[in-house]
Subunit: 231 residues, 2 copies
DNA sequence: TCCAGTATAATTGTATACAATCATACAATA
DNA sequence: TATTGTATGATTGTATACAATTATACTGGA
């Protein structure tokens, strides 16, 4: 029996869960700036709850890496440095490769079908410059891949990393012209999986991540961070 | 300024910190069995604290993967399946490789010195069958490697995984005769790092993990889990 | 005997009160 | 002026009371 599903639902209806999800969204969306201090009472009042669920949500956010708690002092929004982003992409590159290889062996018909639809639809949005939808499909493509690898461990790791760089990625993908190129790479990975060539899928997924990172750098990752640091 | 150090210290003197460390130790040492339910009041009374710090410690342990919390129900010691262990070792294999490669570029003189001492001392304990000390040195060797890679992200990931399989590893390393072999592999990795050959270090560390896993399987990982499942 | 329903107990979820710690402002001293 | 000490306020840490939920035992009926 899988409690995760129930958990996810219940979380949204428990106060701690609501606080957790709200804060997470706010942090990822950039509502709170880096190193900003989150005060328990302030957050509590804003969401209409007491400090207890807020504190517990803080502990969760801390281990998710979104905030850092300093004892007797406060909770601060975690800053991701330029090097952190680079490291994450290098790590993700390896893990996405492994994920693609495993997915080749374990992907279901339904997952394959959704991937094909994903790539097909993305082609349309790419041609018409619908960046928003493109980003959405890109996220979904990788999520399918994570689920298809048949490893809770790897899936969990990759989802964590994926979320971790969401803040950065959100800013760059929309401003970049990488959409079409990225989708072509997705298609190639899909083809490799369909043909049952795990090694190729691994290499392609590997390269896909590195390309994504290099594109990000080219499009001004540095500037974003320089900007963030000035304040 | 690095707050981590202060944090670590303060944690031990705050109630939540004490609870957290104690529970973690107890879970890893096997005091609590898999799927055992941890009750807030019971833990609290045992440690002489109220439920509040216990609950917060629970949230931390949950995201560390040591327990699973089901809303309105309880906290349960996480079970690691045989496949989980296998997946973790495959993932670790890749990451330890990357870590060794990066360490080649960033390791300090002090870290190198400690590694040399580690390997030298381990040789002595291996010859005399001191399995306890050998396990300790093995842990330390990898910790140095993690620190030497100069990536907080990778270090954090590897330490998490390392701890995750500690429960399993503790049971197998002591009963296995892998100690000497493992130390030889450490020495080879160290030599590669010293000679500045990052690629080689990566391959060796990679292989080192796979060997560790294969040895574990050979020495009855299956039996341990079969045993664990019967109850 | 078996099952459904209900009452009771046990457990987790949340709010609040109080204690401990930390930050700040200000005054006293050199 | 600079610095140290102290008082005050703000913030986090913990304990406890109460609410909500879940598990268990028991009863009544078929």
């Amino acid at each position: 029996m899988n409690y995760d599903v129930k958990r996810e639902v219940t979380d949204k209806y428990s106060l701690r869960g609501r606080v957790f999800h709200k804060l997470r969204e706010d942090i990822l969306s950039g509502k709170y700036e880096e190193n900003e201090e989150l005060k328990e009472v302030a957050i509590g009042e804003e969401l209409g709850v007491s400090r207890t669920p807020v504190r517990e949500a803080f502990r969760q956010l801390e281990l998710e890496g979104l905030i850092q708690i300093i004892p007797n002092k406060g909770a601060y929004v975690t800053g991701i440095t330029e090097k952190d982003v680079q490291d994450i992409y290098m790590i993700r590159s390896l893990l996405e490769g492994l994920c693609a290889k495993w997915a080749t062996e374990h992907i279901t018909k339904e997952q394959l079908a959704e991937m094909e639809e994903n790539v097909y639809l993305a082609k349309f949005h790419a041609e018409n410059g619908h960046l928003e939808q493109l980003a959405e499909l890109d996220n979904r493509f990788h999520d399918i891949l994570y689920e298809a690898c048949n490893s809770k461990m790897l899936e969990h790791q990759l989802k964590d990393f994926h979320q971790y760089v969401l803040r950065v990625r959100k800013k760059t993908l929309a401003s970049a012209s990488r959409g079409p190129k990225s989708n072509q790479e997705h298609e190639a990975i899909l083809e490799a999986i369909k043909s049952g060539d795990g090694e190729l899928a691994q290499q392609l997924a590997n390269r896909h991540m590195i390309n994504a990172y290099e594109n990000m750098v080219k499009n001004g990752l540095h500037e974003i961070y320089a900007q963030g640091r000035t304040k």
